[in-house]
């Protein structure tokens, strides 16, 4: 087990290196000089020169890359050019809404999608199965950000039940924050439920074909009991993978949904930083989002071992 964890952690190194290189390359490809964007068109040549050397933009790209890499490895993501504050501090302030959104939407997606998928599979080939499949495909096909906009039209513009935009931390005021979170979380979660349902259905169908299920049925165990005590635990294994995959998708989804609902999270931060050419923030935010995604999937691999004692990675 320890050997497996160590090996998995080591395998993160090349991925992290590629992620870092991609992020650095992207940011330095963004057209336009951050210095002229920051100082405006009326800036004097000497001011521009001074800021350029202060930001080390006058050094060769390779030197910039290696010094950025060294700094990042030491946990130093630099200072925001616009706000003149540490990038980590700024990201820290924006991380919560995005994570709250992604985690709650994952919960909604799993709580809706898994039962839907298992029900469809246990009634495979029937009309109910067909209907559930169609619902799931429709869920996948509806853009989540549009679902959010529809929610605003119905519940904010027409019925005036819920606020159209804004965010309140659930850690500040649990009950009041629900009013702000319910639309974005449902919009993201419902569209994700379709994806989860499809994969759960496939996973269940595969388990139901196993010999031990046939044996249980032959022994006269009821369909319900076969499902609950023989199949469910085995169905959970592939579904855990789905949760990991799902979280990555929702992290991206949360970033778009923030724009729909005016939520001050990572997505808004990244978009704003791109407009302001705030290199250190774009680099730091993209890097953290990607590495966070990788780590969640690493945890998912660990969870496997807990729910399935047959799997051993040593």
């Amino acid at each position: 087990m320890t050997a497996f964890i160590v090996r998995r952690l080591l395998s993160l190194i090349p991925v992290a290196l590629v992620v870092g290189t991609v992020v650095f390359a992207l940011v330095h490809m963004i057209p336009g000089d951050p210095v002229t964007v920051m100082l405006g068109s009326g800036a004097s040549q000497s001011d521009i020169q001074r800021l350029r050397s202060q930001m080390r933009l006058d050094e060769p790209l390779v030197t910039q890359y290696f010094s950025w890499l060294t700094q990042t490895l030491q946990g130093n993501l630099g200072n925001s050019v616009v706000q003149q504050r540490p990038v980590l501090e700024i990201i820290g302030e924006r991380l919560e809404p995005t994570l709250v959104l992604a985690v709650s939407a994952t919960l909604v997606g799993v709580l809706l999608g898994v039962p839907l998928g298992i029900t469809a599979a246990s009634r495979a080939g029937t009309l109910l199965d067909r209907v559930l499949i169609i619902i799931a495909v429709a869920g996948i096909s509806i853009p989540y950000f549009w679902l959010g906009l529809l929610g605003i039209i119905v519940f904010s513009v027409e019925l005036r039940w819920l606020p159209a935009t804004g965010y309140l931390s659930p850690f500040q005021d649990g009950l009041a924050s629900v009013r702000y979170l319910i639309l974005p979380v449902l919009a993201l979660g419902i569209s994700q439920a379709g994806f989860v349902a499809r994969l759960s259905r496939t996973a269940t169908l595969q388990v139901l074909q196993e010999n031990y299920i046939r044996t249980a049925r032959a022994k006269g165990v009821t369909a319900r009991s076969v499902m609950l005590s023989h199949a469910l635990r085995n169905v959970l294994i592939p579904i855990v993978t789905v949760v990991g995959l799902s979280f990555g998708i929702l992290l991206g989804g949360a970033i778009v949904t923030e724009t729909v609902f005016g939520i001050p999270g990572m997505g808004r931060l990244i978009l704003q930083a791109i407009q302001q050419r705030d290199y250190p923030i774009i680099q730091g935010a993209l890097l953290l989002v990607a590495m966070f995604n990788v780590l969640v999937n690493l945890v998912v691999d660990m969870v496997y071992i807990v729910i399935d004692p047959r799997i051993s990675y040593s």
């Binding site: 991925v15 590629v18 853009p143 549009w146 992290l251 970033i255 778009v256 774009i282 990607a290």
Partner: protein
């Protein structure tokens, strides 16, 4: 007699297709409809740029079936023109990602020395949530539609590459490949003739899913305002403008969303139908 028998059996075959995999005729039919709208629609509708400020943010009416936008422009003609942009982006992304994915997947799977290098790059790209990577790439390349296509193609290449590599690794061990090599077939010949044939079905299915994902991603990027231009009406762009006027003109938000959802549904149904038809074992497993 022969002709009528053939016609009857062709008709029966078609009916059986509808009965067994309804996704192909339903999804394919809807897709065809969108293609026809993209090809011929722009000739039949009004000028999508003609402004009429006296007639702005109107709900759907007999004169403007889908209503008007904030400049009083006809939304029906803007959406018909937008169909072109959306279909072009989706199709080109699928084609480019497919080509790049097949090439890298074949190389990684067939040549052991390249495998580790190529696949670590693919892992690195897959680490990013796709919207986030697309956002970064579009920001780096610039907001032109062609750059959006390149960005999304890069985002979806690893999906195809992984799939192709997996199949290649498997096929490489098959006896007929060993036999081909034993009789002196060159690498390229083995790859094209024996390996590629085994992955074509899977790739076709994946391309329809990537087309669908690209349509959603393109609208998300236009919605965020990082891509698209005033010269090119697009569904996501109209949605984005609609967000501003959501209190005055809900149709500006509702209608483009219905179009996006219908097109994506058509592509997903087509993909599912093809998958059922081409490889029943893989049903529902490769989505993501």
């Amino acid at each position: 007699m022969t002709a009528s028998t053939t016609r009857a059996s062709a008709g029966r075959r078609f009916l059986r297709l509808i009965a067994t995999s309804p996704g192909i005729p339903v999804g394919g039919g809807l897709l065809l409809l969108f293609v026809l709208i993209a090809l011929f629609g722009p000739m039949t509708v009004a000028d999508p740029f003609a402004q009429n400020v006296m007639n702005r943010l109107q709900p759907p009416s007999a004169a403007n079936w889908f209503g008007t936008d904030e400049f009083g422009r006809d939304l029906l003609s803007r959406m018909v023109h937008g169909t072109r942009t959306t279909l072009m982006v989706g199709a080109l992304v699928a084609a480019l990602a497919g080509a790049a994915g097949v090439l890298t997947g074949l190389l990684a799977g067939y040549y052991h020395r390249l495998d580790n290098f190529i696949m670590r790059i693919m892992d690195g790209l897959l680490a990013f949530p796709s919207v986030v990577l697309a956002l970064g790439l579009v920001a780096a390349l610039g907001p032109r539609t062609s750059n959006t296509i390149i960005a999304l193609a890069i985002v979806y290449t690893p999906r195809i590459a992984r799939l192709v590599r997996g199949v290649v690794l498997n096929v490489k061990e098959q006896e007929y490949v060993t036999a081909a090599k034993a009789v002196g077939a060159r690498d390229e010949r083995v790859l094209w003739l024996h390996v590629l044939r085994n992955v074509t079905d899977m790739i076709i299915v994946q391309l329809s899913y990537i087309f669908a994902l690209a349509v959603i991603a393109e609208s998300a990027l236009s919605f965020l305002g990082v891509t698209g231009s005033v010269l090119n009406p697009s569904w996501g762009g109209i949605l984005s403008d609609g967000r501003t006027y959501i209190y005055q003109a809900a149709s500006m938000t509702v209608i483009p969303g219905i179009l996006i959802a219908t097109l994506v549904l058509a592509l997903n149904l087509l993909g599912d139908g093809l998958q059922e038809r081409l490889d029943p074992r893989l049903k529902g497993q490769l989505r993501g």
